[in-house]
């Protein structure tokens, strides 16, 4: 028997895969992004119920109250808007709605879009053709117009807003996941799975999904910011959220009228969207890289093998 000569020495380079958390701690940018997002979420969840009333309290004597002054208490530290409502309190209350709308929309669109995209890409045929045409139609109609007309007919509410936005953003996930599925479908390990006796459902769920999800996650993170802005646009046109519900987008559009007199009424909510989008973006980049065993090995302290460089 040849087993003697076949015995392999376990070389030092084979260190068990580092945990995700360990990797996160070693990447300052990703860590900071994650902390920012967690902080914003906590503020939204804990702070919003407490400040709901204060955020909608008008005080015309405090119209365009300047920021960075503690004279009227910390709620007014970022100034007040045209109706004298405290900016900071509004931002915190708005954070909850913004996260809720953007998060739910993206989650819904991503889940449905990706599932349809993978099934459509793997199975192909009539269903694939039909889905792609429907998606073409959705893409051709400007999403704002689509949402506008639907919300005009339906009652503008948070749930309807989420549903309409989710339908409008569906094609992105459908296309991304379908394109990737078409590529993965041709790879040898899928053929190997078929040779093993796996069915289509199992191949889609266990072989294709793990490779499609990281890409979709990256797209989804990017989408959070666009959805926040789209929701703001609808609010501005009067079919989105209505007071007392308020999100960052609503605050931006309300403040825009007074941009020259009170920059803070637009800039602070705008900054909130920007920071969230940026953090989501950076984190999504890191997630994509660290989700890949190859790249994770490179990111970790262990040296990657020469073969690891192969595509």
């Amino acid at each position: 028997m040849a087993t003697q000569s076949l015995t392999l020495t376990p070389p030092r380079r084979r260190i068990a895969a580092d945990s995700r958390l360990g990797l996160l701690l070693r990447s300052p940018v990703a860590l900071l992004s994650a902390l920012v997002l967690v902080f914003l979420l906590l503020v939204a969840v804990i702070g919003a119920p407490l400040l709901q009333d204060l955020a909608n309290t008008q005080n015309l004597r405090l119209r365009f109250f300047h920021p960075f002054s503690l004279e009227r208490g910390w709620a007014y530290v970022l100034g007040a808007d045209a109706l004298g409502r405290p900016m900071l309190a509004q931002l915190i209350v708005g954070a909850r709605t913004s996260f809720l709308v953007a998060g739910a929309t993206v989650a819904l669109a991503a889940t449905i879009g990706t599932t349809l995209g993978m099934v459509s890409g793997y199975i192909g045929g009539v269903m694939d053709a039909a889905l792609m045409r429907i998606s073409d139609i959705i893409v051709t109609v400007p999403s704002l117009l689509l949402a506008l007309s639907v919300l005009f007919v339906l009652e503008p509410s948070i749930v309807n807003l989420i549903l309409v936005l989710a339908v409008a953003r569906l094609p992105i996930y459908l296309r991304v996941s379908r394109a990737q599925t078409l590529e993965i479908r041709e790879r040898v390990f899928v053929e190997a799975s078929r040779a093993l006796g796996k069915g289509a459902g199992s191949i889609i769920w266990r072989d294709i999904r793990p490779l499609v999800v990281p890409t979709v996650m990256t797209v989804a993170m990017l989408e959070i910011a666009s959805v926040m802005l789209a929701a703001a646009g609808l609010s501005f046109l009067g079919v989105g959220l209505q007071r007392p519900d308020v999100d960052w987008g609503t605050i931006v559009s309300e403040g825009r009228e007074y941009l020259t007199r009170a920059w803070w009424a637009t800039v602070f909510p705008g900054l909130a969207i920007l920071i969230t989008a940026l953090a989501a973006n950076l984190l999504s980049n890191w997630m994509r890289a660290s989700g890949d065993p190859l790249q994770a090995a490179v990111m970790g302290a262990t040296a990657s093998r020469e073969e690891a460089a192969r595509p």
């Binding site: 040849a2 000569s5 076949l6 015995t7 392999l8 020495t9 070389p11 380079r13 040296a303 020469e306």
Partner: protein, 335 residues
């Protein structure tokens, strides 16, 4: 050993080598692709570099050609006809490439531009490099295509690379490489992607061209049998180092390095039944590994403690035969 005397020892003392590599190193960050190799090629000589993937054999060929791109770093010396190539400007290297050194690659489809016809690509060499007229260049292109065994070259000049078979494409690549009559041809696994029946023809063509034109040949390969068909001298590489060198048949008949011997033992052509195969245990080393001793020691059946402590120097075991092993002489003598 008649083969050893065939190296024209009388000439060697007077003639200067055409290519002289000394202490060549190629690094990519922490990765050492080539860890210091020395190699001389005399004019008209045919040398095969034999090694497995990751041995640094292909990188050596590219380094000679000046094709190592950043972030790769090249150290040591590569002298071609007395001129130092390491650290030379791209413009200076371009003058050497073509009439001095030419190269044939493994993937012929990659090496040719898909959007230009074959004729255009060959003709361009003469119009651009030699300033010939298009007509003159076209005649020479046809002659070259005939020389490398393409039938009806006139009618195929306007065809595009994808319209040729793999073997024909490689012949065209060879034609382009020899167009400016190089003094050294580097062939980097030119037949690895081809079928055996096609491979035989390409190897014959390269040997014939080399013999007829008197150019030197540096043939990079992982295949012992292929090396033996085209080269007279063999250089065996392992982990970025040369471990054994000498006249090719002499090395095969009487190895002086455990790695070369193990490679022969694991070659299916050398035994009658699979149970006689003697595989090399373990895996090739990591390129980022740092060695204190001999890189082959962990897989070597002969290794003793000294092997992992101290790297052996080259031992000259016979005329023109060198091996980098503490036991080179013993191995050579059959002990």
């Amino acid at each position: 050993m008649t083969t050893e005397t065939l190296i024209r020892p009388a000439d060697e003392t007077v003639a200067k080598p055409l290519l002289s590599i000394a202490g060549l190193q190629v690094r990519y960050g922490r990765t050492h692709a080539v860890r210091g190799i020395d190699l001389d090629i005399m004019p008209g000589e045919s040398v095969a570099i034999l090694g497995e993937s990751g041995s640094g054999k292909s990188v050596t060929g590219k380094a000679v050609m000046g094709l190592i791109n950043s972030p790769g770093k090249v150290g040591g010396s590569v002298e071609f006809d007395g001129m130092q190539l390491v650290g030379r400007s791209e413009a200076a290297l371009r003058a050497v490439r073509g009439p001095g050194i030419a190269m044939v690659f493994q993937d012929s489809l990659d090496a040719l531009n898909p959007v230009f016809s074959i004729g255009n690509q060959i003709i361009e060499i003469f119009t651009v490099r030699l300033g010939w007229s298009r007509r003159q260049a076209r005649d020479e292109a046809i002659r070259l295509m005939l020389q490398v065994g393409i039938v009806n070259p006139e009618s195929r000049l306007d065809d595009y690379p994808h319209q040729f078979s793999g073997g024909m494409r490689q012949r065209i690549c060879i034609a382009m490489a020899i167009a400016l009559k190089p003094r050294l041809l580097i062939a980097d696994e030119p037949t690895t992607a081809l079928d055996v029946t096609v491979q035989a023809g390409i190897l014959k063509l390269i040997s014939q061209l080399q013999r007829d034109s008197g150019m030197a040949l540096l043939f990079v390969t992982h295949d012992l049998a292929v090396a033996r068909q085209v080269a007279r001298k063999l250089v065996v590489m392992y982990a970025g180092r040369v471990v054994e060198r000498g006249p090719i048949n002499a090395v095969f008949h009487r190895t002086a390095h455990p790695y070369t011997r193990a490679l022969l033992g694991s070659n299916p052509g050398s035994v009658k039944h699979w149970s006689e195969l003697k595989p090399i245990a373990g895996n090739p080393p990591d390129k980022s590994a740092v060695f204190t001793g001999c890189a082959f020691a962990p897989r070597c059946p002969r290794a003793v403690r000294m092997c992992s402590d101290r790297e052996p120097d080259f031992v000259t075991v016979a005329d023109g035969r060198q091996s980098r092993c503490h036991f080179a002489q013993e191995m050579f003598d059959g002990r």
